[in-house]
Symmetry: C2
Subunit: 350 residues, 2 copies
């Protein structure tokens, strides 16, 4: 799969997005150069700022162009919370979610790991090293629903969660496959099947069926509410979590928080069938409050670049980035460093 | 509203339910006796065990009878996780949720407070003292959805979240009213309106409208994923949270975890219009693994009894129970005590 150049789409986005992406590119370029591979980045101006300037979210031609790339590195998008010029959620839905859905990013991969000295808010975090495989293309995220009699006392608003055997099975199988490659080989399904019976039972039955294909992998089940309790009382119990789009959104932010914060949380939006490029992004948002100040932590973006290399078949370069991140993180003493200082240190550590 | 006797329905339920309810009744009885009020409990056998014995979940006559009572004290229901004799979720939906929906328990009130020395899993919890007002009668809990082509590769399963202006407005108004009586007078709406646009905008618009009626109350908004981060990094920021049924389910378990565990978390399922009796229950479940061993912590059930007294207008008795709980909890040193020893100590402290 690896070749001598990587045709990379780069969507820096808004706020701190461009700042952290600059550092990720710095590290990425150096990591692949060591293997004789050239990074060929193409930048795309997309996001809230771009919408304000042009009224465009994700034009068809841009989407078509993105589809020709090997992979996408994504920063963060979104306006400042108080900015009323941008209809709420439009950038999230018509750019970020549109990319995930159009490019069939059904595996939303979010690893959670507590590095040696990084400050977890937990008093006794123990060893935390799990991955969440969040479904990325269906569930309550499909945008299916409506409003009747809006703004009247008789308003009714619906949201429909759509779940298909096709969609659930492929992501569950991916989770079991990933678990089979890990030491503990354990999958936990997180859902709420005692209340969300229809979707919940599809997920449960699918896990039982796919588990047959992986006799070496054990599995269990947690309701999402109970899962949040264990996240803070016993996160070591988790190895691979598989869950739906909305539950995955919630528990991965919590997982990031317990492992020292959203500044370290990487993610991949992966199309495992490779029918379209996958997209790698830090879990954090555009953080308009600290944008332009060189304060943002680029680590999550850099770790996302490592996931990108993994996906493209450059496992060794990915491991070297991760090792450089771990070495840097373990040296951190809470003193503030600039975004580029962190990027430089990690690049130097490659 | 207070009168000289309380006609109380008691549903002890399964597992540790009967054990913790016995202690709650002990404390409740003593607390109201001091005010010359007699407790007249009527026990109802309902739950997983009862279903196994009779096939009944909640017969119409029993529901009709419950409706005649002043209030309901509820323990916990549910079979052991591995028990395949009971269809998954049937007791939850056809008993617990049926009660909440039939009795129009639209305010699911869940206070979260960290008592002095109780072990929070957080390294620096700070002061935690907030309440969650969880909507209890609609949202993704309505049981609306279905399955097409079940068990085939073409299966589609849906879940429909139903949200009405009527349902959202009354619970939002309740949250603002509660906030107006608290010191910090702050309401946080938790939702995910950038993705769940239809329901999310109904909630947002309703909060903006109701806020006009309470000029002394400030309010803000958090996406549910961000809310889970703040729960572990800065829980002191919360005063009153208002949220939908499913998000409320998730964040109140997390809130219980950060305040020392589900053994202390009380809840009320309240019909503020008093068209039917309200129901008070510990947030924890039936914990079949420790049932019958006298190990369960009855504190959550006892605190739920205090919420019950508040609702019935016995605020002073409620405060005395809370004070006795606080005194007991602050003396705890991690040594195990039996369920009845805890109940006795709290009753003695009244
Ligand atoms: C920005 C938002 C639409 C997005 C999501 O909900 O998936 C974000 O929270 C995430 O987790 O990537
Ligand atoms: C048992 C279950 C149906 C219930 C819920 O989801 O509401 C429980 O988790 C709770 O929070 O009271």
């Amino acid at each position: 799969m690896s070749k001598s150049s990587i045709d990379l789409a780069v969507i820096p986005g808004d706020g701190i997005g461009p700042e952290v992406i600059a550092e990720a590119l710095k590290v990425l370029e150096k990591a692949v150069a060591a293997e004789g591979v050239e990074l060929q980045p193409t930048h795309y101006e997309l996001g809230a700022e771009h919408w304000l300037a042009t009224g465009e979210t994700l034009p068809d031609e841009v989407l078509a162009d993105l589809k020709t790339r090997d992979a996408i590195l994504f920063g963060a998008v979104g306006a400042a919370p108080g900015d009323t010029r941008i209809p709420s959620g439009i950038i999230e839905r018509e750019l970020l979610l549109k990319l995930r859905f159009s490019l069939d990013h059904y595996v939303n991969l979010r690893p959670s790991r507590l590095y040696g000295t990084v400050g977890s808010p937990l008093a006794n975090p123990g060893t935390i090293d799990f991955i969440v495989v969040r479904e990325g293309t269906e569930g309550p995220y499909v945008g299916n629903g409506g409003t009747l009699r809006a703004g009247t006392p008789h308003e009714v608003a619906t949201e429909v969660s759509l779940n298909t055997a096709h969609g659930v099975e492929r992501v569950v199988r991916d989770a079991f496959r990933r678990a089979s490659l890990r030491e503990r080989k354990h999958v936990t399904l997180v859902h709420k099947h005692n209340v969300l019976v229809f979707a919940g039972h599809l997920w449960k039955r699918t896990v039982e069926a796919v588990a047959q294909e992986f006799p070496e992998v054990t599995h269990d089940y947690l309701h999402v509410d109970a899962a949040t309790i264990f996240m803070v009382t016993d996160p070591s119990r988790f190895d691979v979590i598989v869950t739906d789009n909305l539950f995955g959104d919630i528990i991965t932010d919590l997982a990031a928080a317990i492992t020292g914060g959203i500044g370290l949380a990487a993610s991949g939006n992966i199309n495992m069938d490779r029918t379209a490029p996958s997209m790698f992004e830090p879990v954090h948002g555009s953080a308009p409050d600290i944008a332009g100040q060189g304060k943002a932590d680029p680590t999550a973006a850099i770790l996302s670049a490592a996931l990108l290399l993994d996906h493209l078949g450059y496992a060794e370069a990915a491991r070297r980035i991760e090792a450089a991140v771990v070495a840097d993180v373990e040296k951190r003493d809470g003193k503030a460093r600039s975004t580029s200082a962190v990027g430089d240190a990690i690049a130097a550590g490659l």
